[in-house]
Amino acid sequence: MKEILSGNEAIARGAFEAGVKVASAYPGTPSTEILENIVNYKEIDSSWAPNEKVALEVAIGASFGGGRAIACMKHVGVNVAADPLFTLSYTGVGGGLVLVVADDPEMHSSQDEQDSRNYARFAKVPMLEPADSQECKDFTRLAFELSEQFDTPVMLRSCTRISHGKSIVALGEPVTGLPTPKLVKNPAKLVMLPGNARVRHPLVEERTVKLGEYGSSAPINRIEMRDTSIGVITAGVSYHYVREVLPQASVLKLGMVYPLPMELIWEFAAKVKTLYVVEELDPFIEEQVKAAGIAVTGKEIISRCGELTPGRLRKAFGIPGAAQATVEKLPGRPPNMCPGCPHRGVFFSLNQLKAYVTGDIGCYTLGFMPPLNAMDTCVCMGASISNASGIVRVLSDDEKKKVVAVIGDSTFLHTGVNSLMEMAYNRAPATVVILDNRITAMTGRQDNPASGWTLMDDQTTGVDLVQLCTALGIRNVRVVDPLDLAQTRAVLQEEMNRPEPSVIITNRPCVLVKRDGVFQKGLVLSVDQDHCTGCKACLKLGCPAIEWQPAPDGKKGKAFIDPQLCNGCDVCRQLCKFDAIGRVQ
């Protein structure tokens, strides 16, 4: 049976076929759909964790109990999960454990383009890298077998073009006969006190050597001999760009990118005249090949930045591309907050109050875009609060008042809670706005510990954010309706002026929440063209439903609201000083 699957769907299928018992993840583009598809296999206990460290630790627990387990995350998620990962390398596994990491070369939806292959080497764990959806499925299955055979966690590395690309996959049958999970005491292996860890570390080093030997004879690493004048070592999606652009070249296609199969690399190098490494981002393979004393060209011709494309690869090899049509510079179309988004009025108010906004990761990072222009920093998940806590320590009393951290509900629960604990503990006088829209919106509306629902669609206890902030030691916790501009602005002003830590929680859901009754559309608004003076005040919201319509005869233009797009949030009506905007019954 064949189906067209995305890389993420195929990894989910591979997990099912491998008999996975437990799957845990925190959403992150481009990895999110792995768990969203695994949950369709009812045999698997699938769940969202508050962050990637917790997701990996849940998987580790399931593995220690003897079940196969998978944890999935985007590249930067591994930074959060690195702590358990490095120790897991020493303990090894019970049931097979696979950590899927989806990199984002070109940063289509990320704050950096770190190369996760470095983690495999750093943590001394093997890493497989599929080149299409079929390999996503097959390598996921294989990763579980290798995990148990070599007593190691296995990383499976995808990237945006693999995770979100689709290709044809021949499905397989699920494995049978896996042992039933049960408690087995083995503290010398699983309690990583120094005495035990000193025994484990040499085993890890031996394991890496054995995995390298395995790789030299394993079918996932293969030599394809064609013309011998050019030989290319490559892996993942880059393999297909090489096949597209250099169809005559001989290729060593690596399915395991760490540890490298050095014997096979020597063999291939001896067979070809000029050797290249084609890889995105870091010279990960190239440096190891060079360190072995093999002459090879790589980053001399291929950039360390961004993703590869057939065109970029052609350029690297001096092959002319097809002639292309040209078009003049056009108005860009960057992403924007949705019409009726509850974040918009908050950022408008922060702009009006001339706040210095430490930002965070989510839809609301779009508060940076014009005309809102209300974000001044954005580092990583949870950093808004701790950055605010740090910045107020160096400012004058007058400037301290301007500092406001903004963070979403899901991001707050991810790593913002520790930051707020720090702020309360050390009494840093900044203001925190938790933009609670009841969902993890940016990655496609996933539930989180505050939403009251699980990934498997069971109702559960939701975190009470007011009580949580209070328990952390914040004395001033206020809840505001972000669609009420006057209230939002007044509360922001009061709390910014207060010389102690405070939290403001907004209480309107994301307009995209699918669950019935959570989001309720308001009455659509329209502009009375007779009353509109063309002052453009409503345009300062940057709402996609409001459009400026220039007058043809040199007169002043007017605003227009697209009734198809308007969600009736009412914020623009509150801004209009001429009562030109009204609700349509």
């Binding site: 289509h108 494309t309 057939p310 078009v327 839809c363 875009m369």
Partner: protein
């Protein structure tokens, strides 16, 4: 089967249903016995940003993205995005586009005008250009929301894929309650 690869680019604005259209295309190509690859970017582009989806089929497809300047068919859901994407198309390529304008932020804010005369500019570079009023045609088929399917029908006519593959792909990918309208919309587009 020849080694030739056919390259299709679907372009428009996040939220227009581009991903579903590219999935129906991919499904039909697989049913016709071809190797298929498709690629696009999710995430930030869903929030009203530009979206480009690449679909390639043939005996064996390697790169999931269409090499620059090698697109055979540009399938545009919005006219500015269609024009913006012309550099992806090969010389003599085909353009099938919906005559729809969605203003980008700078136009909404009154900072820049929506570029004028785009259909004429497209035709000047690519004479094989079909511009259609997808919304109106979809209304004729019974539902204005089936505009994408009308366009898909028009694209299908330019591809050598059997009728039954399109039928099966639509049956698989379109929710059953909307199937009749979509099949009708598809045939309407195919007749253009």
């Amino acid at each position: 089967m020849s080694d030739a690869i056919t390259n299709i680019l679907l372009v428009g604005v996040g939220g227009q249903g581009i991903l579903l259209a590219s999935e129906i295309l991919s499904e039909a190509f697989m049913l016709a016995g071809f190797d298929v690859k498709k690629s696009e970017i999710h995430g930030m582009s869903q929030r009203g940003g530009s979206v480009v989806s690449h679909v390639r089929y043939g005996r064996e497809v390697h790169s999931p993205i269409v090499p620059e300047g090698e697109g055979d068919i540009l399938f545009g859901f919005e006219i500015l995005e269609t024009y913006r994407s012309l550099p992806l198309l090969r010389k003599g390529g085909t353009v099938v586009a919906n005559d729809l304008r969605i203003s980008p932020p700078a136009v909404l804010l009154g900072q820049e005008p929506y570029p004028e005369d785009l259909p004429e500019k497209i035709r000047a570079q690519f004479p094989d250009f079909l511009l259609m009023d997808g919304q109106k045609l979809a209304a004729d088929a019974g539902n204005i929301r089936a505009a994408n399917t009308v366009l898909l029908g028009a694209v299908s006519k330019r591809l050598d894929i059997a009728d039954e593959c399109w039928q099966k792909a639509l049956e698989k990918m379109v929710p059953s309650k909307a199937l009749d309208v979509n099949l009708k919309a598809f045939q309407l587009g195919r007749s253009l």
